[in-house]
């Protein structure tokens, strides 16, 4: 959206850190190696599922 584009990056970042502090999170914390890999795999699988759904929808349409 336009709001995102016009909001200065540093303002966004400081707000994120503020919120993270309140929630007691560390934004610099990274997920363990294995976990990021599994997250990416899950995302990829979901994306493939999406393609399957759209392809089967087209297939089922009466030509």
């Amino acid at each position: 959206s336009t709001t995102t584009l016009t909001t200065p990056q540093n303002q966004v970042e400081s707000l994120m850190h503020e919120l993270a502090d309140e929630a007691g999170l560390d934004l610099n914390m990274e997920l363990p190696q294995g976990q990021t890999g599994s997250l990416a795999s899950t995302m990829a699988s979901t994306e493939q599922d999406e393609l399957s759904q759209r392809l089967s929808k087209l297939r089922d349409q009466v030509e």
Binding site: G37, A44, E47, L51, L55, S56
Partner: protein, 102 residues
């Protein structure tokens, strides 16, 4: 989300990354094809994107998975889904090409 391969990645991890990268490329191409196809606009253009996507899916499916355990299962599942979409995309391509020529 960064999916760049880490330099310290083992050989096994690489095969998973390679599959994921082919998936990413295939997803991009076939999504483009679908957008055109679903829109009922110029089908000839969709054909080109389907072909590109199919080529990427085939490359991803051909990658030998060199990891074991959970990582193997995840990579295998992804490849299985790519096989399904390869078949479906090919079927769709045949249909479009035949309709296009008649």
């Amino acid at each position: 989300l960064t999916m760049s391969a880490k330099t310290n990645a083992s050989k096994g991890r690489d095969s998973c990354e390679v599959i994921k990268n082919y998936h990413k490329q295939a997803f991009e191409y076939i999504s483009k094809a679908l957008r055109i196809d679903e829109d009922d606009s110029e089908k000839g253009e969709a054909v080109q994107w389907y072909k590109k996507g199919i080529a990427e899916l085939e490359k991803g499916i051909a990658v030998e998975i060199t990891v074991q355990g959970d990582q193997y299962e995840r990579a295998k599942r992804l490849q299985d889904k790519m096989v399904t979409n390869l078949t479906m995309a090919k079927d769709r391509l045949v249909l479009l090409v035949c309709n296009h020529n008649t």
